[in-house]
Structures are given as C-alpha cells and as structure tokens.
C-alpha cells in the first residue's frame, strides 16, 4: 500500500502545494493517532472486562466518535495524495489537456460538497450546543464536541481541494503545458 496512488498529486513544489502538504501531514497525524487510540481503548476494555471486571464503559461510544474524527481529519491528506477513488472509465480516454480540465472539475466538485458539509456541520454543532444535547450512553459528553469534526472535515477538504486547484492553475500558467 506504500505506492503513491497518484504520483502527479504530490509532485509540485509550489507554495500552495507546500501549504497543502503541511495541512495534510498535520491533520493526518491526528487522524492516525485516533486509530491508535481506538486500538488502545479496545484492548484496554477487553483486558479490563475479562481480567479485572472493570470494563471501560465509555469505550464503545468513544470508538464511534473516534471513527468520525479519523475520517474527517484524514480525508484531506487522502485527497492530497490522490487516494480517493474515481471511476476512471471515461476520463482516461481523454488526452492530457482533457484530463487537466476533468481534474479541475473534480476539485470544484469536492470544494462544493465539502463546503456544504462544513456549513451544515456548523449548523449541527450550533444546534446541539443550543439544545444542550449530550451523548446518549455512558460518556455523557456534550454532543457538539464530537460533531465539531464535521466542520473540521469539511473545511480541511475544501481547503485542500482549493489549494490543489490553485497549484494546478498556477503551474499551467507558469509552465504552459498541462501537467
């Protein structure tokens, strides 16, 4: 799995590409740590329950929220690396110029979707705070806290797609050739 899935995605050295890289690596690291947290939490719960009769009753709920977090924080880095899967039936038949345009369309689509995710995520968080909603199980944390991941995820993904769009356009202007 170590093969870069889309080598074009990480080739650039421009300012936008460098910013994208730092954002991707930073939040990606947080997402990776969340995976580690799930591993530790689950193992600790099993040990606590089986050997010590002292289960971590919040583990189940926390795991669900960590899954939300790892996806929302990791999706931007996956986008930067070109991991997100596409149907490549038609687009691969286009020439380099056509593919360039398809790529920009894809960035715009992701920006649009991610912006809606961020915006509606904002509403969800604001509403949960106003309503005073708590998680329904043993954790009893204010629900807006895990929901904040939605805003972060939308914002990061939109930013990443915008940076890649900028970088692509910048390179097209400076180098002329598509990619």
């Amino acid at each position: 799995m170590t093969t870069p899935r889309d080598p074009r995605a990480t080739a650039s050295k421009g300012a936008a590409a460098r910013l994208a890289k730092w954002i991707g690596l930073g939040f990606g690291a947080l997402a990776a740590l969340m995976i580690l947290a799930v591993l530790i939490l689950t193992a600790a719960n099993v040990i606590g329950r089986y050997f010590l009769s002292a289960p971590l009753r919040g583990a189940e709920e926390a795991t669900g929220y960590l899954v939300v977090g790892m996806v929302m924080l990791g999706a931007a880095e996956a986008y930067r690396r070109g991991d997100h899967i596409r149907i490549d039936l038609l687009s691969e038949r286009l020439g380099p110029a056509g593919q360039w345009w398809v790529e920009q369309l894809s960035h715009l689509a992701v920006i649009g979707f991610a912006a809606v995710l961020m915006w509606t995520g904002w509403h969800t968080v604001a509403f949960s705070r106003m309503f005073g909603a708590y998680s329904p199980g043993y954790l009893q944390v204010p629900l807006w806290i895990p929901q904040t991941a939605l805003i972060a995820g939308g914002a990061l993904l939109a930013t990443m797609a915008a940076l890649r769009l900028l970088d692509d356009v910048h390179r097209k202007i400076t180098h002329g050739a598509p990619r």
Binding site: M1, T2, T3, R5, G28, A31, A32, I35, L36, V38, L39, T42, A43, N45, V46, Y50, E61, T63, G64, Y65, L66, V67, V68, M70, V71, M72, G74, A75, E77, A78, Y79, R81, D83, H84, I85, R86, I87, D88, L89, L90, S91, E92, V102, L105, S106, A109, V110, G112, F113, V116, L117, T120, G121, H123, T124, P146, Q147, L150, G153, G154
Partner: protein
C-alpha cells in the same frame, strides 16, 4: 421516473472522474435541494454513518495487515502456503480462497476480509504469475464470504429487523458460504490452468515443508488465537480486530524484531489513508441513502414489486432483481434497513422462510460489494493496489456471474441453507 433521473445524475457525475464520494455527495445534495428545499441533513447523515463502533474493526484489520506485511510475517505464511499447494497449478488461488474462508470465521465484515487477505495475497499471486485482474477477482469475491460465513454483522442486522433467529441464520450461511468458496476456488483454478503461463513450483519435499511450517508458526497461530478468544468469551468478534492488531504488533516487536518505531508509524499512516478513503465513500453513501429514503424511492420500488401480486417464485425473483439494482448504488447496511421492513408482510403472506430469504439476501449483498459503481470490495482492492478501477471491475465480473449462480442454487435448493439449522433444532 425520479429514480431514473437521480441514478442517471449519479452515473453522469461518476463518469466525469470526480472522486466517488463527491459524486455521491453532490447528487444527494441535488436530490435534497430539489425535493426538500434544504440540505441541512448532510452533516447529520455523515455523522450518523460514521459514528459506529462496529466500523472501527476495518482500520484495526488494516493496521494488522500492514504490520504483518512490514515485519515480513506474511512472507513466511505465503512461503508455507506456496510450499504446501504451490506445486499444484493454480494452488495459490486455492490458498487465497482458503485464507478468506478462515478469516471470514473471525470477521463479520466483507470489507475487512478483502482488505486483510487482499493486502497480503495479491502481491504474492502476482509474483507467481497471476494476471493482475485475476488476482483482483479472487480477492473481491473471496472477501465477500465475510458476511455469509458466520459471524456476520449484516446477518445480525437482518435478523433483528426480520425477527429471524440469529443462530439459525449463522448456521444457514455456513453451507452456502463453503459452497461458494469451493466454486470460487474451482473457478480461479480453471482460469489459471487455462491461461497456462503461471509459474508452477516443484514439490519441495516434507523436510522443507516442515521447516516452512515452523517458520510460519506465529502467523499460523493467529486464527486459532483470535477464534479461541472469541469463542471462549474473552472478546467480541468486533473487538477481535483490535486484538488481532495487538497480536501482530507483539509478534513483530517481540518475535521478529525487525520493525522500528518509524515502520510502525508508517503502518498507522497507511491505515489512516486507506480508512479515510474507504469511509468517505461510506459517509457519502450514507447521505445518498438518506436522500433517496426520505423521498421514499426505495420504498416505492419495493412496494411496486410487492403490489405485482406475484406468486412466491415471481416475488422472490422480482425482489432479488430490485435488490441487485439497489446494490449497485447503495451500501449493504442501508439496503437491509430500507428493504426488509417493506417486504416482510408479503413474505409472511406468501409463506417464505425468513432464514432462506436471509441467506439469499446475504448473497445478493455480496453481489452489491463487487458491482460497480459503488462496490466496497472493489474500492478496497483499488486502495491496496492502486490499480485502475476498470481493471478491478473486469476481474470481478466473472464472480458476479458465479454469485448469481450461487443465488440461483440456494433458490432452487433451499435445503442447502436450511438443512443445517433444521438439523440443529432451529425452526419450529
């Protein structure tokens, strides 16, 4: 009519080559905006689809696989499998399906099965001369066994919605699961044999095999340790994923001693990327499911099928066809929750055995996992290999037909599914 427009829009967006999650997301937004006048549910649907402790099993299995690859534990396992069956032409396909079958008895998820076995088996199969596309097909199909062979997350969900016995369903899935495994293995063998340019190893002799077995001890011990833990009540089938990952870590760090902290971080990093990629599609499929459910599209399709007043045979064929089509676009959990409540009353009226139906539903859901445009097992393989999706779809296509054949067999011979649970005292 609205259905044609919605699915047409989705397909058009997908064909532009934008990421699948964006195509699913945007078409949902269009549906919600046009029909509801608001898109407020977007973030809520994303949160609801991802907020599931059961999903966490997938990154855990992925991490386990990465660690076992990085520490070369897998090399020893495959070396052993190859020495055991490699001298038989197409033996590696057998070994791969067997691994999937064994893993399916641990995991309740097909995605986890395809991910774990695929990330180890695909490179090996290709090393020994399998055409890439054939190796993708074996994994795409073998992985689907995860939900038919017990334990199975989707079966439990169906049982709860339909009021069928979970124990009986588990038993009912076993024979069809093994049967499909055999069909897959035979097909893969035939495919490789006819192709003719696969490398064939010579038989290495018992002493060499014994050495390979000893070397692969820690890898071979993994299924019994994990299965033992589940059936002795130490952990649940979902927790088994994390325990498997801890086991792999322990073997890598304590026994093989060939991984650095940096290696482990890389494993975690790769896991994160795969998870983000797979689960973004799941999240967007969640919005899409919400959007078409709230406008009652699947309900209307199922109600139309139900209203045809077909006999038992016609009804099952129509329902299976409808679920196959839904399965091209929707994700398995959504299909169970949306379709089952609607068809239950007619099922009862026609006297259709819910266990029998449940097994056919599972096979149909296995199909959903490998049919484009939304097929999670296809995406897993894309994530593992970076291959072109069209190539993966091409490789999986024969297995779509085989699964349809399996579905037809269970339909024609219900006893394939029902004999085991009935012999064990379930039913009546």
């Amino acid at each position: 009519m609205s259905g044609v427009i919605i699915f047409g829009l989705l397909i058009a967006l997908l064909l532009t080559g934008m990421p699948i999650f964006a195509a699913l997301g945007l078409s949902s937004l269009v549906v919600l905006w046009a029909m509801e006048g608001k898109v407020d549910a977007t973030a809520d649907a994303v949160f609801a689809s991802l907020n599931s402790p059961l999903l966490a099993a997938i990154p855990m299995f992925a991490f386990m696989a990465h660690v076992m690859i990085r520490a070369r534990v897998v090399d020893d396992l495959y070396d052993m499998a190859n020495k055991l069956v490699g001298h038989v032409k197409g033996g590696l396909g057998f070994a791969t399906i067997l691994s999937c079958t064994i893993f399916a008895t641990i995991s309740g998820s097909s995605v986890a099965t395809a991910l774990t076995i695929g990330s180890t088996a695909i490179p090996q199969m290709q090393r020994f001369g399998y055409r890439p596309r054939d190796s993708y097909g074996v994994i795409a199909a073998g992985g689907t066994l995860g939900i038919l062979i017990p334990p199975s997350g989707p079966m439990i969900l169906y049982a709860i919605v339909s009021d069928a016995s979970i124990g009986a369903l588990f038993l009912a899935g076993l024979v069809p699961g093994l049967m499909l495994a055999a069909i897959f293995a035979l097909f893969s063998w035939a495919q490789v044999t006819m192709q003719g340019d696969t490398q064939k190893q010579s038989w290495v002799g018992w002493a060499e095999l014994r050495r390979a077995l000893a070397k692969s001890f820690w890898a071979v011990m993994m299924p019994p340790v994990v299965l033992g833990g589940i059936y002795l009540g130490v952990f649940t089938a979902t927790e088994a994923a994390a325990i498997g990952a801890v086991y792999a870590l322990a073997v890598a760090v304590l026994v093989y001693r060939n991984v650095t902290l940096r290696d482990l971080w890389d494993c975690l990093w790769e896991t994160m990327r795969t998870t983000a990629m797979l689960f973004m599609i799941l999240a967007a499929a969640g919005i899409f499911g919400h959007a078409i459910t709230i406008i009652r599209l699947p309900a209307e399709v199922m109600e139309a099928v139900t209203a045809l007043r077909l006999g038992q045979t016609g009804f099952i064929m129509a329902v299976m066809a409808a679920i196959f089509v839904l399965g091209m676009f929707l994700e398995t959990i959504a299909i169970i929750l949306i379709t089952t409540p609607i068809i239950l009353p007619t099922m009862a009226a026609l006297g259709i055995d819910p266990i029998w139906y449940g097994v056919m539903l599972m096979i149909n859901l296995e199909l959903a996992l490998i049919t484009p445009p939304v097929g999670m097992n296809l995406f897993v393989i894309k994530g593992i290999t970076g291959a072109r999706l069209s190539e993966i779809i091409h490789g999986a296509l024969p297995y779509v037909l085989l699964l349809m054949g399996g579905l037809a067999l269970i339909w024609a011979f219900p006893q394939l599914a029902l004999w085991l649970p009935q012999a064990s005292g379930f039913g009546r």
